[in-house]
């Protein structure tokens, strides 16, 4: 049996990290003309948390993550990252975070190693460190043999792995991942998960959006759910389970709601009686 004991130094660093707030937002709002994409979102993500940020399509997940990473300016509200106000300390904050955005933001006409060197240089790493880290990352991601291939010729999964490698090359304290497992095969997903769990074990904070709820359930310690731009649930999985607990669940002693069930209950309650009767349900189909 494996020992669960952690070295004292590592344990204390994790404990200190857990007491610190990594990300906090206050009244975070973003409007596009008359449309309110994100409204009055108040987030508190403790350092060292693996934080899942969920919501149906168009709920405001990507808009929120864009604001948290400086890709989009909020219309109202404030963002604090590691105690720094994003609006006034954007450069300092950006040095501490790593991002895999929605479109991956890769430079297609570079090779993987050239791209990592470019990113390393942009984050102020010296040449030797960049070189060493990029070699290690490419080895870890199983991309080291693709020395001449341009990023534009990579498969989707390879691009995702490279995007993640680029996001961590400078050793960020917080990692923002927008749909990191989308279009990634099981083997590549395993590599990504292994890396992310390693980062969490070392005290980093990960803020992740994903539609693959099984992965979120397995990885994340805390989950928030956004719908129609508003935060409607936030807490640990157990807290969320308790929040949507019903009498019928109590009748079944073995009942343990999955994240998918929690998600559907939370979103379903939020959207009211949106479901159509069987007669109304696309009766012309088949």
């Amino acid at each position: 049996m494996r020992s669960c004991r952690l070295p004292i130094a590592e344990f204390s660093s994790i404990l200190i990290a857990a007491m610190t707030v990594a990300i906090s937002t206050s009244g975070l709002t973003r409007r596009f003309g008359d449309f309110v994409a994100v409204q009055n979102v108040n987030l508190n993500v403790a350092a060292g948390q693996f934080y899942g940020f969920l919501g149906p399509n168009g709920a405001g997940k990507s808009t929120t993550i864009k604001m948290l990473t400086g890709l989009l300016a909020p219309t109202a509200g404030s963002i604090q990252v590691l105690g720094l106000d994003f609006a006034t300390h954007a450069l300092e904050v950006k040095r501490q975070i790593g991002v895999v955005p929605e479109g991956m933001a890769l430079f297609g006409r570079l090779t993987a190693s050239e791209y990592l060197r470019f990113v390393g240089q942009m984050y102020g790493l010296d040449h030797a460190t960049t070189l060493q880290r990029s070699e290690e990352l490419l080895e870890f991601m199983n991309l080291a043999q693709e020395t001449k291939k341009l990023v534009t010729d990579f498969s989707h999964g390879m691009q995702k792995k490279l995007a993640l490698a680029a996001a961590v090359i400078h050793g960020p304290k917080i990692l923002f991942l927008d749909e990191p497992f989308e279009g990634v095969d099981a083997v590549a997903a395993g590599t990504l998960k292994q890396m992310l769990q390693g980062m969490i074990a070392r005290g980093a904070t990960i803020f992740l959006t994903s539609h693959v709820l099984e992965i979120v359930e397995r990885l994340c310690t805390h989950v928030a759910i956004i719908n129609h731009g508003e935060l409607i649930a936030d807490g640990s999985l157990e807290e969320l389970r308790a929040g949507v607990h019903t009498q019928s669940d109590s009748d079944d002693p073995h009942a343990r709601l999955t994240l998918e069930e929690i998600f559907i209950r939370v979103i379903g309650k939020e959207d009211g009686a949106a479901a159509l009767s069987p007669e109304q349900e696309l009766s012309w189909l088949g």
């Binding site: 890709l71 479109g103 890769l106 430079f107 006409r109 050239e114 942009m122 043999q145 534009t152």
Partner: protein, 581 residues
């Protein structure tokens, strides 16, 4: 009835209105696609800066009309003249010119709006016949086709005025020739799509096209020079042989066959007239069949262009990362790290973009072309020596003209990668500075090469003229970079680095940049004329442009200081536009 009974027997109650729907008619398909294209156009006017783009489009239409009408009027007058003088067989000359314009002018045209890929129609229930006609019909309004058809109509009118009896036959032959050209261009582009779908093939193909294009220009100019090598000198024997061979081949190809058909009808030799027309029809039919083969393969979902490149043996590809190309060794350590990083990235992008490299070798090539062309200028009364003395200035002016494409959409090649600039701890001014440094570096290399080329071909440019030209170039470059940096952020368009034809460009950016270069050139000419009038050499111009360079440099630095604010305000539209796939 049998079908319904079978359905009921299987327990599948057909819902109301479940009768098999007829496939939509061709007319309906055309109407739908026309509507779709119209909506795409209208919706393209809704975004940020759309009003400016619309104004640019409106301003560009008269220019386009002149481009179409100019050759058309020339073709009409030329045809009238040839038929009137009884040189009907020489109609093959304008027909060849029309062919070249029609087929090759499109390679260098850019699209100022989003387009719709007609090959995507195969996912809808559409008949092959309709698909074929749609693929053939849409695109008939593109500038090369419009220009070609206008020229042929004009030729018909010219022939009709010169010889009214010839008109019906000539009109018929020219109509078949027009159809032949339409089918030929569609055939060529549909097959090119198959090859151009893969990046490596596309770049190789682009390189070949560009090399052929440059080679053809050079050969044409060289041939012209040989033919003018002396007023009384006998024609060069090599040229004579080549010319005779080309003339013989000409009669077997569509332009020659069309001219031959009209010529022999005019001279009453109906048999050859009909045979020539038959030959032209045979070409048309062949192009139709080859086009059909490709489109039918596409229609069946067997688009060969989608085939992945053969996988290489992994063992051959395995190398350690440290064995990366030598270009990585360049570090520009004297620059701030972020600026140096951007500069290295830009150099890598440049070296991997065939079209960009083509653009950059053009100025030196143009110097050669000017020099060769100027050999014939004695006939027009312009001093050969005065033209050759200005080769350096011509080359520099041309460089400014082609640089606008790099400067006014400098973020276009980054595509979705532009988001990185907003996520990473760096200032946009560093990014733009990296890009501008590359532009300045290329400009410096271009200037040296142009100077050497002009010195080898003719004589080195006079020192005062060289200094004045250099000062003018720097003034224009800094002015262009000042405005170009803003326009690159405010009105970007995603670029495919491997593509030469139909790149999506901002019409307003094109208009501004061309206006600025034109204005600068006019200023240079005026200053040059002033210097000639005052008989003071070019030092006055050099001093004036040096002062203007200082002003434009101050403007450049000021704008660079504002770039972060401009980028911050436009971050959303910039990333959205460049992340479009």
């Amino acid at each position: 009835m049998a079908r319904i009974e079978t359905g009921l027997a299987a327990g599948l109650e057909p819902p109301a209105g479940d009768a098999p729907r007829p496939v939509a008619s061709l007319r309906r398909h055309f109407a739908t696609i026309s509507w779709l294209r119209w909506r795409i156009f209208v919706n393209s006017l809704r975004g940020k800066g759309a009003k400016g783009e619309l104004v640019a489009k409106i301003v560009s239409y008269p220019i386009l009309a002149v481009m179409v009408l100019g050759p058309a009027i020339g073709s009409g007058i030329g045809s009238y003249y040839l038929v009137d003088k009884g040189e009907v067989s020489l109609l093959s000359i304008p027909l060849w010119i029309i062919f070249v314009l029609w087929q090759f002018i499109g390679v260098n045209t850019s699209s100022t709006g989003p387009s719709f890929d007609l090959s995507s129609l195969i996912r809808f229930p559409i008949r092959y016949r309709d698909y074929f006609l749609i693929r053939l019909s849409f695109g008939l309004m593109d500038p090369p086709t419009l220009a070609g058809i206008a020229c042929l109509i004009s030729m018909s009118l010219g022939i009709a005025i010169a010889a009214p009896g010839l008109f019906p036959w000539a009109a018929m032959a020219l109509f078949v020739y027009a159809v032949c050209n339409v089918l030929f261009s569609r055939m060529i582009y549909s097959w090119m799509e198959r090859w151009l779908a893969q990046r490596r093939t596309r770049e190789l193909f682009t390189g070949i096209i560009l090399a052929v294009s440059l080679g053809a220009q050079f050969l044409a100019q060289y041939a012209q020079r040989l033919s003018h090598s002396g007023n009384h000198a006998p024609t060069n024997p090599w040229l004579e042989k080549a010319g005779n061979a080309l003339v013989a081949i000409n009669w077997l190809l569509p332009p020659g066959l069309t001219a031959s058909s009209i010529d022999h009808f005019h001279s009453g030799d109906m048999l050859i007239a009909v045979a020539s027309l038959g030959g032209l029809l045979l070409f048309t039919l062949t192009f139709l069949v080859i086009l059909h083969l490709r489109l039918h393969a596409q229609f069946r979902g067997e688009d060969l262009s989608e085939a992945p490149a053969p996988a290489k043996a992994k063992a051959a590809a395995i190398k350690t990362v440290s064995q990366a190309p030598a270009a990585a060794a360049v570090s520009f350590s004297f620059l701030p790290a972020t600026v140096a990083g951007c500069l290295i990235k830009e150099i890598r992008y440049l070296l991997r973009s065939g079209p960009k490299l083509y653009v950059l070798i053009m100025p030196v090539f143009v110097v050669f072309l000017f020099s060769v062309r100027s050999s014939g200028m004695n006939l027009t009364g312009i001093s050969h020596h005065s033209v050759n003395g200005l080769l350096f200035s011509y080359g520099c002016a041309y460089t400014q003209l082609i640089f606008v494409a790099l400067i006014y959409n400098s973020l276009g090649g980054d595509g979705a990668g532009v988001q990185f600039y907003f996520m990473a701890p760096l200032r946009m001014r560093d990014v733009m500075l990296g890009k501008n440094l590359l532009t300045i570096g290329i400009f410096a290399i271009e200037v040296i090469l142009i100077y050497i080329a002009s010195a080898i071909i003719s004589t080195p440019a006079p020192f005062d003229l060289a200094v004045a030209t250099l000062a003018w170039s720097l003034f224009t470059l800094f002015l262009n970079m000042s405005i170009g940096n803003i326009r690159s952020i405010v009105s970007p368009k995603a670029l495919d680095p491997a593509k030469v034809r139909s790149q999506n460009v901002s019409g307003l950016n094109s208009l501004i940049s061309l206006g600025l270069v034109a204005g600068s050139v006019i200023l240079g000419i005026l200053m040059s004329m002033l210097c000639s009038y005052l008989q003071m050499g070019y030092w006055v111009a050099a001093a004036a442009f040096a002062a203007l360079t200082a002003l434009s440099f101050v403007l450049y630095i000021t704008v660079l200081g504002q770039v972060d604010g401009i980028a911050s305000r436009n971050a959303e539209s910039l990333t959205r536009e460049l992340s479009k796939t």
